[in-house]
Amino acid sequence: MLKKRIITVLTFLDGTLFRTKNFKADYRYTKNFIDLVKVDEIVLIDISENKFQKSFLDIVDYYVKNCFVPLSIGGGISDMDKANLFFDKGADKIVVSSILYKNQKLLERISKKYGRQSIIVGLDCKKKINDYSVICKSGTSNINKSPIEIAKKIYNIGCGEILINNIDNDGSLLGYDLELIKKISSNVNCPIIALGGAGNWQHLLDLFNISNISGACTQNIFHFTDESINSAKKFLQSHKIAIRE
């Protein structure tokens, strides 16, 4: 049967690995301790102001060369050239902003050339009183549409996975936004992966137990070593979650 995934998300600012809090770079780290064996998948996101700089592309080269699990890359993909750039470098999938729900043509072009399963759409959300809205531009701009609406629209146009991230939970270590995730995953048949708030292994378990979520993403640098990932997987296995050894 299909296993649940644990996905390491690495955010880079001008070529330096950072963890973020509420989408702002917070704590710098070095890539020397990132496990590439036990992890199920790796996502690299460029959070620099000036993207596509050599410093990030060098990082991409490093992971393409050394990583034998799926590698997804994102950050500033706004046209076909930029998508091509990352795929040519060796990305298996790209992560694009949900603002692309407006750019159907681009999504279709990428789909046609690389397959819809090569596209992960990042759905960054923020809670506003009773409901959620989707945001973009690193959390600075509000799209003013509901996450479900955008998720459905983009899935219909064509994407492989949706990555749900709650800006408030980002870096909090207090757990995922289960309400948001449950809402979206029960309304669209797209594989969903979630990011934002992973603290202890119970948070991962809660995520897998309340929804048919595909993968748990963590941006928490303390989850990146093989010891940590091993520990997380053993915990999940002991609670009957199907996960790759």
């Binding site: 001008d14 710098r28 070095t30 301790f33 207090l174 202890n200 303390f222 070593t225 520990s231």
Partner: protein
Amino acid sequence: MIKFCSKCIMPNSRPRIQFNKKQVCNACSNSEKKSKINWQNRKKEFSFLVDKIKEFSKKNSLEYDCIVPWSGGKDSSSIALKLKLDYGLNPLLVTFSPLIMNVVGQDNRIELQKIGFDNIFISPNQKVARLLARRFFIERGNPKVAWDAGVNSSPMRVAIQYKIPYIFYAEHGESEYGGLVLNEESLKKRDLREVIEHQIGDYPENWISKEIEKKDLYNYIYPSDKEINQLGVTAYYYSYFFKWSMLENYNYVKEKMPSFKENITGRTKGTFTDFDSLDDKIDCLYYYMQFIKFGFGRATRDSCRMIQNNQMTREKAIQLARRYDNEFPIDNFKEVLDYLSLKDDQFEEIVDKHRNNEIWKQHKNRWELNFKI
């Protein structure tokens, strides 16, 4: 790009530090705000709190009025003494054992206890403590990650066991030294979210491995919200009620306890002071690794505090930082290596792995800082 605070010399590579438009760090901004605070009012607030505490103890027939997390150093000792001698409270001192105990720290604890304090001294399983110290030194360049968890959770656990709902911490690190303040209230009362995020960075429950079971982590795991809320424990920062100054704390302790000792070997390696952070032999390595990872060492740390208290000029601070930050933690080095079960060459390899390419570059087989203060 590394930038420095225009008032003190802390770089922006310090985790969570924030600079305003004038490139002044939040520790400096905060210390400026401190001079504008009506400390008389805060003192009054404190007196009310003390009365409330005494009332509670009387009503519940408690032997101790409050818990003071205590290392034996000048900061926690000054609080213990003030609470007892100036305010007539009976604090229970809670200590989480240093990794490698230093004679100076031990002697200072004995001296303070002679004045009349009870102390709960928690010394955890050394097999587990060493494994964790080694693991996190390798993975995070910080041998004290687990210790941080222990020193944070022990006072809370003892408070719950003894049913004492008041804890007095020293200073609020994030606002005093540059970091992220979650909200205004957290300057007065300790916010649990802050503890996990900033103090420890991880949940000790996650450290279960082939060699470590959940029961081995008892001393590190923070009590649950349920337990804390049931008793209604509040942890206060002394620095909210009284203007915090490292130097003044030291002077106060020396006055009440002339036998308080400084570093017997003189100046502490990596800095210019001899009276701060002395009770764990691993501390020099701890601060040295901060320098490796973030580019600021113990001298920077100590001098920034003094600048903020108007006890040193920025120029002098720069001199001291350039001179001492990079000093190798040679004191007790063999003992530290042994504690971490590492050989010399393994040690060097690990240290180098933690050098961030933003801060370090290699020049003719030597490591050099990418910047100059």
